[in-house]
Symmetry: C2
Subunit: 180 residues, 2 copies
């Protein structure tokens, strides 16, 4: 049995999903959206941390799965995303829960079978795989897909993706820029 907490951090809403696998059975134990409300960035991040810490304490997942950050477009979105993502990694780190990260393409490939799948296709497949009574909201579906991607890799006995070191991130970024 394995429990994974998928987290899709955002500047305004962070989706999360706790997915459990026992044998070939998949089940979403709990999912939701943390709306960080109003207030300055410090207040938002503090609220996000407290909510995540509560989830990690209550459900003790074996792993946290997040999207690799390296796909953000533009300095502004990267910056805002970086703040929320830093808090997610920290919440896991302080509780000693390992973090695995996956590129959007990998997640879509694992769930839909196509790296270029649409949001709707991801929502459809997530609902079938788990299975859910009703379609999840987009942030929740993304968090579920991240957890499913991690479990899928575990089933194929692929090693989980550890977060990249800043130096590796820089090399990837340069390679991506060179391809443009």
């Amino acid at each position: 049995m394995q429990t994974v907490l998928g987290i899709d951090p955002g500047s305004l809403v962070t989706g999360y999903a706790l997915v459990r696998q026992s044998g070939s059975q998949l089940e979403c134990r709990h999912s939701g959206r943390l709306a960080l409300g109003s207030g300055d960035l410090t207040a938002r991040l503090t609220r996000l941390f407290r909510e995540l810490d509560r989830l990690l304490e209550a459900h003790a997942p074996g792993c946290v799965a997040v999207e690799s950050a390296f796909h953000a477009r533009g300095a502004r979105s990267a910056l805002v995303l970086g703040h929320a993502r830093g808090v997610v990694l920290l919440a896991a780190g302080l509780r000693g829960v390992p973090v695995a990260e996956y590129a959007p393409r990998e997640v879509k490939m694992a769930v839909v079978g196509r790296g270029g799948a649409t949001k709707e296709q991801v929502q459809f497949m997530v609902r079938r795989l788990l299975p859910l009574a009703r379609a999840p909201r987009a942030d929740e579906a993304d968090a579920m897909a991240l957890a499913l991607c991690h479990l899928h890799r575990a089933r194929l006995r692929l090693p989980p993706r550890a977060p990249r070191k800043p130096a590796q991130l820089a090399a990837l970024w340069r390679a991506k820029a060179a391809r443009r």
Copy 2:
């Protein structure tokens, strides 16, 4: 008497300085550099948080002063900086210490008197103002300058700068992009 913790977060090294003002007397009580060493991003951020939390607990500053993040260039540097900065804001938020943020130009203006001052000029003036026996390292000098900028504003009875909300940040970013 007022104590301010200036923090200059970076992906590899974070400088900090605890500056105290009593009357017209300025004094750097403590300063240093947190080298986050090797390991993945989660381990680095966890170490950064623990060190900052220890500083906040030990010295109980009245305020944390950081550079406003909106000046990062490029998606990659913004992203890495965002992670570290998120952890700094969170550490202050969890301890209930207010955060003030200042643009690099404001900091240089407050310390050197010129918004376009060089790193060396900042280091020189920080050493004179505090006064220090020897020149501080660049990361420490930046943290000291941030604390001095905050105290300078307080002396002029200007309100401290609260961190901007994401929506304000977006508007500023668009204005900046339009000016290019």
